[in-house]
């Protein structure tokens, strides 16, 4: 006697799982420009690498004890590989009851569940493919009681944030729990036009506020990515999102007990780009393209920008220097003149903690005149959010390198240095620094002298000219108050040497980062 009948039964049950919510539901899902969860996993992961877990879960329909059909559980998950490296991956199946939660003995994923346990126990990255509307009031009629919020809580999801890389991809409309789950990630992506994310969708908004708004206007990428920074990056389509996830994970270690992967770079570490000599205009009021500057310094085509469309006064990119992963934080003089506003501060703080958690050294390319000023900035709590960015920089223990391109002023400037480490600061000849810029600062500091002068405007100009003579970075270098001033073309070579040299130190300080205290 063989077990062939049981093996056939298993195959039949698996076929029900593969059929998802049935052809009609799948057609409807495809018609909205969306892939099914199985197509997503296949599109993202290495071919044939998906080892599904819990494929038999669902609701079986029996006639006289004989199985007729299984409606699969609306969550598909398991172990897979991305670029040869293992990941735990899971996502809601929207074709079954809109991907809403379903009562099982053990959860598969979404909030906690097996897939998050897998990431935790094996210390491998977690990828959430989010496409669900969260809880439904209808579940109370099934249970006979209402569920306390958090019964399937976020505690594991929060724990993972200190252990392994967590990626959220919002692939459909996410509200409630799945929307919250999307935010509990180190990096998140959504798809323009076909995905939306909000705390609550249009029907709840209309009932609560009387506000009539469609889901794209409420939580499409224009709001969630560009305006709010709720989600980090936007992709043009689902395959584009998969490519970005693969790219992002390529910079990440498997977990916080390991270093990020080093790739062999064919870009010479001593490559000196002539463009660096001319990119900063001599006229100090004129901005320049910091993204181009970053591209000239890091390994060719290695920069991957996080949150490129929100908080644009600062540029945060994962990149490589001589094959080693680094986090680049570069002020953007094209936006706010590089002044740090609330969104830029929030972005910078998150990026610093991301790099610190995964032992990714930070390179600051500094051109910051300070925090954003003015009534709107004060009303938005720029000072508080800005000091939070300073706080996390001063609390971080990952090595940082500071290269001052032009302005480095005030508290925002202070937050760009490695105060807990080597505190190694290099500067370009175009660099200038201080507690505040000469303009504005002189009028306040020499108020009485200027007022009493026969020609106050002329006296102000004289004072400013005198102060500016002292502003040469070479004078600071003579006093060893900045460690070096370099030819801009040497930037890459210097940074590559120091990043290589710090690898031994990085390897001795692995593991979770405990951050005591209360950020402002």
């Amino acid at each position: 006697m063989s077990w062939k009948p049981e093996a056939d039964d298993l195959a039949a049950r698996r076929a029900f799982a593969d059929a998802l919510g049935g052809p009609e539901a799948i057609d409807k899902h495809h018609a909205q420009g969306r892939l099914t969860v199985r197509e997503r996993i296949a599109g993202l992961c290495d071919g044939g690498s998906f080892q599904e877990v819990g494929k038999l879960t669902g609701k079986g329909a029996y006639v006289d004890g004989k199985l007729q059909k299984v409606v699969p559980a609306p969550y598909v998950m398991g172990l897979a590989k991305i670029d040869g490296r293992p990941v735990a991956i899971g996502g809601e199946d929207f074709t079954v009851r809109g991907g809403t939660s379903w009562g099982s003995d053990r959860r598969k994923g979404g909030q906690g569940g097996f897939v998050e346990d897998l990431a935790h126990e094996y210390r491998i990255p977690l990828v959430n493919l989010i496409d669900g509307a969260g809880g439904s009031v209808a579940s109370a009629t099934r249970r006979g009681y209402t569920v306390f919020p958090g019964v399937h809580g976020f505690e594991r999801s929060v724990q993972l944030m200190g252990e392994v890389p967590v990626v959220s991809a919002v692939m459909g409309t996410a509200a409630g729990g799945p929307a919250g789950r999307a935010i509990l990630a180190h990096w998140s992506v959504m798809v323009k036009g076909t995905s939306q994310v909000f705390a609550a969708g249009p029907p709840v908004v209309e009932r609560s506020l009387g506000q009539k708004i469609d889901k794209e206007a409420l939580g499409g990428a224009a709001v969630a990515v560009d305006m709010a920074g709720t989600i980090d990056n936007a992709a043009d389509d689902e395959p584009g999102a998969f490519a970005m996830i693969r790219r992002y994970l390529g910079y990440m270690p498997r977990n916080v007990w390991e270093l990020p992967p080093v790739v062999k770079s064919d870009d010479p570490p001593d490559r000196a780009d002539e463009g660096l000599l001319t990119i900063v205009p001599r006229e100090r009021r004129q901005p320049y393209n910091m993204r181009k500057l970053v591209a000239m310094v890091v390994d060719r085509d290695s920069a991957f920008e996080i949150q490129p469309t929100c908080g644009r006064a600062v540029i945060t990119s994962l990149a490589r220097l001589d094959g080693y992963v680094v986090g680049i934080i570069a002020n953007n003089p094209m936006v706010n003149g590089g002044a740090m506003d609330v969104k830029a501060a929030r972005k910078q703080a998150h990026f610093i903690q991301l790099c610190d958690t995964f032992h990714i050294p930070i390179v600051f390319l500094v051109d910051v005149p300070g925090f954003m000023v003015g009534l709107a900035a004060e009303q938005a709590a720029t000072l508080r959010e800005g000091m939070r960015a300073v706080y996390v920089a001063l609390q971080a223990t990952v090595p940082m390198l500071t290269c001052v391109i032009r302005k480095c002023y005030g508290m925002a400037g202070m937050g760009t240095t490695d105060k807990n480490g080597l505190d190694f600061k290099i500067a370009w000849p175009s660099a200038e620094w201080g507690s505040l810029p000469v303009e504005g600062g002189a009028a306040a500091a020499f108020k009485r002298e200027i007022e009493n002068a026969p020609d106050p405007a002329a006296r102000l100009k004289e004072i400013e000219a005198d102060l500016r003579k002292l502003a040469s970075p070479l004078l600071t270098a003579e006093a060893f108050a900045v460690e070096d001033v370099i030819d801009p073309r040497e930037t890459r070579a210097v940074l590559c040497r120091f990043v290589e040299a710090m690898q031994g130190r990085l390897a001795t300080t692995l593991g979770p980062k405990l951050r005591a205290g209360v950020p402002p």
């Binding site: 094209m334 706010n336 000023v373």
Partner: protein, 73 residues
């Protein structure tokens, strides 16, 4: 043809208007330059199109979010 409003991202003053109504714009073209935070801050078209209207004058103070120009895309 749809039109798109180009808004100021920052409080400041109009320093120099670079483009005129009727001009064809590339994505990275500066329509005008604002002066704010002691810097010359270009106002970029952000999409290709044709400049229909400039809503401000040189030296005029502008508020964050104020419509500066209209572009036909």
């Amino acid at each position: 043809m749809a039109t798109k409003e180009v808004k100021s991202e920052i409080t400041g003053a109009v320093w120099k208007i670079v483009k005129q109504p009727g001009d064809v714009l590339g994505e990275e073209d500066a329509i005008m330059i604002l002066e704010s935070m002691k810097m010359e801050i270009p106002v970029l078209a952000e999409c290709t199109g044709r400049l229909v209207e400039i809503k401000v004058k040189e030296n005029e103070p502008v508020a964050e979010g104020q419509v500066l120009a209209v572009v036909e895309v």
